[in-house]
Symmetry: C4
Subunit: 322 residues, 4 copies
């Protein structure tokens, strides 16, 4: 397993990491969480991603129980704050919710601090200055080591850097955007100036485009798939055009390349992201230990992605942002 | 119930809020406080206002007992510091009293932090820089989330903003001025530049002009009224001319409008304040649950205050600051 | 009793205060300390001065026991850090000694914080920047509310203000210089620019010029006097020329004025200092309650010091700094 | 024993100090550590150097047990953070490792704070700004009193000073370089501008050039020597040319001078360093109390190093950096 700096920051994260979204507390109970985590850890994964919103906090509670078996220093633990409940102050990036959310997440995770803490979305109802002040407070009080954002725009991030610089506050270290073969603009174009200028790191999510890149939707939506089960997911798919015929066609062609490399389509999709030097870590999900093992093997597939293979893939994708 | 940002700040307060002044510890005992609070909460009120000075601290103690039945995150709790006793350092905005006052208020309220903390009055004997340093300290130590002032002048607030900017200190978020149909200059004129420039929020008090706007003094001062009982209140009334024949006349005309809208005079008075977009929340008082219910219904009356009704009211009031 | 701001700061100190130097732990045991303190407190004194050096810490321990009988908010408690022992890091204004000294003083005083903390002398072996950083740290950590210096020069204070301004650190609030009818230059001339420019407050010590201004040395050094007992005190006297024939002559003349006003010479000496508007409080000592009572009566004598009496005194003293 | 300021800082360190490297936990057990420490302390040594890396933390644990017998204020205790284990975040100067490393060192040392904390090496994978922010955090949280570096370049130190100045962070106070008769360039040339400009202090290590300056390798490498036992040490020797014939020749000549002064060669080597006014303290090692005694006597030898003796030594060394 390769360990990367998180952007310019000194902390090291495994290039493949493990997220709890949609699995912890949904498909996985205590024992399931423990065995997936153990497999990931034993395969070199050190970064475990979470959020207060996942399974209404249950995801953090499950991870909290599981990580007690590890040396704290060996883990990079994250959470994200934005949605904790239905009350008027249970969401968003106000000082009130950021602090209360963080205090509650730490209790559920049973730790004194998380390594990474994210503003899970931008909050247009709160000034960015208030948010940066609060994140700085969280770090200066030892509740987290580094802070970042998720799904913010480059413009919002620039404002955060500006405020931090002006007020001597600790600036963001990383962003958590969606990024995969089919969704590329933000990471490859919009954020481009931020990497060198501010040393922004990326912890990317949805490497398989919600499963599209596994090829499992190539012949329609299987009845037991997440897409069949979660309506809001299906809507998002339709809105984003993820399941267009064009995309299905691409996946079919890519699968052929994957097979030629001795890889699954999922491994190829993950390995392709690992080739991007601006990405610090790819967050992968799994509902069983074997899936974890399959995911981490993408590290080896990365070695096989020569320039010519990458060009071939680019030709198929044909969606490189200009 | 509508929830507003507190000025530009991310925290959300119910547009109608509940204050303990003159009731907690005076007209209300533990059970009375609990049932009023419960009614307010169940009607969507989330902001509960208090002060170290109210009933010599008893008001905070009573509220402290009552709020233990709620989830802390659901509440926006305030206190105000200025008058705690008779000692030379028991009043004012010195670092000594602000810190000691806050520590004591938190103990009485039985909470780790209040959401909002106010400098209850300006203190000409303490430099504003000392006060801003102390309020910043209170927030950075997690004793409060936002700080503000009460009955400060625009000039004093500007100085506070200046010091905060120069010293990288946390600036004030809100002011708590008196504001109602009969007392308008400060909110509508003096503070006007502060709303856009600094995003100042307002938590206004005395929506009924100490009862004048209920119409209960239309035919003289009733024997069991607060005005009959509290001499200092009566003096203030006389000084401010609140009970002038002119005002009584206005109240009589406004009552007619209220009746036409199916509202009590009090509801109209509150609703009229809610129409002011610079007001974040109107602090109302009540000595019984039914009164709480009457107050919160002003939210619905607000919907009936069309432009033409507002013009009609303006014509009657005839006191719009230029 | 009159309460003054400490310079421009908001905290209020009684114009006559009570110091423990040379008495607590030397002439006074636990009961003695308690009864002197009680008398002072009941006569309106709220500021009680101390130092880690006094009686090797015993003075603080005794005061710590005595003040437990009072409401913390009613007291203004000070200590001073500079000499705690014989080790190489037990003295001076290094970050190490300032922090360790403060932690130990608070333990002896049995309080969470002192109101005022002083750098007991300048320390040429430590950069003023290091000292200001450490004092700022002490205040930001809630160990003290205000910090100041004792027997620093105006130049050293200016440097402290400069560093504090540049680094956004909390500047000094007060100085504790020697000041009395016979020692005037520092307070009346050297510090003059600091009062208006920085709002420096003064807590002056030695109002009686180590007893000279009581008249008790008018006829030589009595065998049971402090001067007879403490050699280093006698040396300092000689160096400063305090017991010169000229001074004795002045004291004799002043005693006559005192008698005319119905005051003791000591009361006149204290009252004369109270007339200086740049002095926030005069620290007085006492080894028995009656002495405390005599001292505080100087407040009343002050009222009798009309312009013409002050002129008469000035003519006798004839030492006004130009 | 002479006590020096640590550069310009107010803290005082004995000019000869005692380090635990290679001895605590290797050659010395609990009793051995205690008796060496006691001997050093009784001979006036107040600075005891350590690091998380020494004997994998055991060195700190042993010192932690030993120092409980002393008054905390009498000791200047250090540790250094860089290597704590094999995990990706167990080394370097990231915020994560600096904080976790410090927390763990304090536990092993059983103290609330160390006096001095060092970044044990430069870390090219972490921005210096992140490191300075973390060290500032460590000091502002009371975990250490002063921070410094070890084996950093002048350029890296300049960058740290720049960041600290720009961000109002606490700058480094001291460096811990290798320095002895045979290794001089860094201390005497590269760092020269830092002493006056920033008041940098030095706590130098390897005064005997890993034993070469004792003369024990004059006739080859003895079988029971450290050099025979530790291969990596031997490699470093070869790389640095420490055991060149030229050096052996110098040592032989210097030994003659030592004997003329009634000193051992080791004492002369230490005393020669003490003559450098830019050095705050020389860290010496010992595996038995007698060695400690021998080392501290170098203080007396220093007095014998007149200008002419120093010139004679310089002629033999013939390696003064230009």
């Amino acid at each position: 397993m390769q360990y990367n700096n998180l952007g310019k920051a000194g902390i090291k994260v495994s290039e493949i990491s493990f997220g709890s979204w949609l699995t912890f507390g949904n498909q996985l109970d205590t024992e399931g969480v423990k065995s997936c985590l153990r497999t990931a850890y034993e395969n070199g994964v050190n970064f475990f991603d979470n959020a207060e919103a996942y399974a209404n906090g249950l995801s953090e509670s499950l991870m909290g129980m599981a990580i007690k078996e590890y040396k704290r220093e060996d883990l990079v633990i994250s959470t994200k704050i934005f949605w904790a409940g239905k009350g008027p102050n249970d969401r968003g990036l106000s000082r009130k919710h950021l602090l209360e959310g963080t205090w509650n997440s730490l209790k559920r995770l049973q730790v004194d601090y998380v390594d990474l803490i994210f503003c899970h979305r931008p909050d247009p109802t709160t000034p960015i200055e208030e948010t940066v002040f609060a994140m700085d407070y969280i770090i200066r009080n030892g509740l987290a080591l580094y802070w970042g954002t998720s799904e913010w725009s480059a413009e919002q991030l620039e404002e955060a850097y500006l405020v931090a610089d002006k007020r001597n506050l600790i600036p963001p270290t990383m962003e958590q955007p969606q990024y995969n073969m089919l969704v590329r603009t933000k990471v490859e174009k919009e954020f481009k100036p931020l990497y060198e200028k501010h040393g922004l790191g990326l912890t990317t999510w949805s490497p398989l485009a919600s499963g599209v890149l596994t090829g499992k939707y190539n012949d329609g939506i299987p009845q037991d798939s997440r897409l069949a089960k979660f309506e809001n997911l299906r809507e998002e798919f339709e809105k984003g055009g993820l399941l267009s015929q064009e995309n299905i066609e691409k996946v079919r062609k890519l699968t052929k390349i994957a097979n030629d490399l001795g890889a699954t389509m999922a491994q190829l999709a993950i390995a392709w992201i690992l080739k991007n030097p601006d990405v610090s870590t790819v967050i992968t999900g799994a509902s069983k230990p074997e899936q974890v093992e399959e995911n981490v093997k993408a590290s080896q597939i990365k070695e096989k992605l020569t320039d010519s293979v990458m060009e071939e893939i680019e030709k198929i994708l044909n969606n490189k942002p200009l």
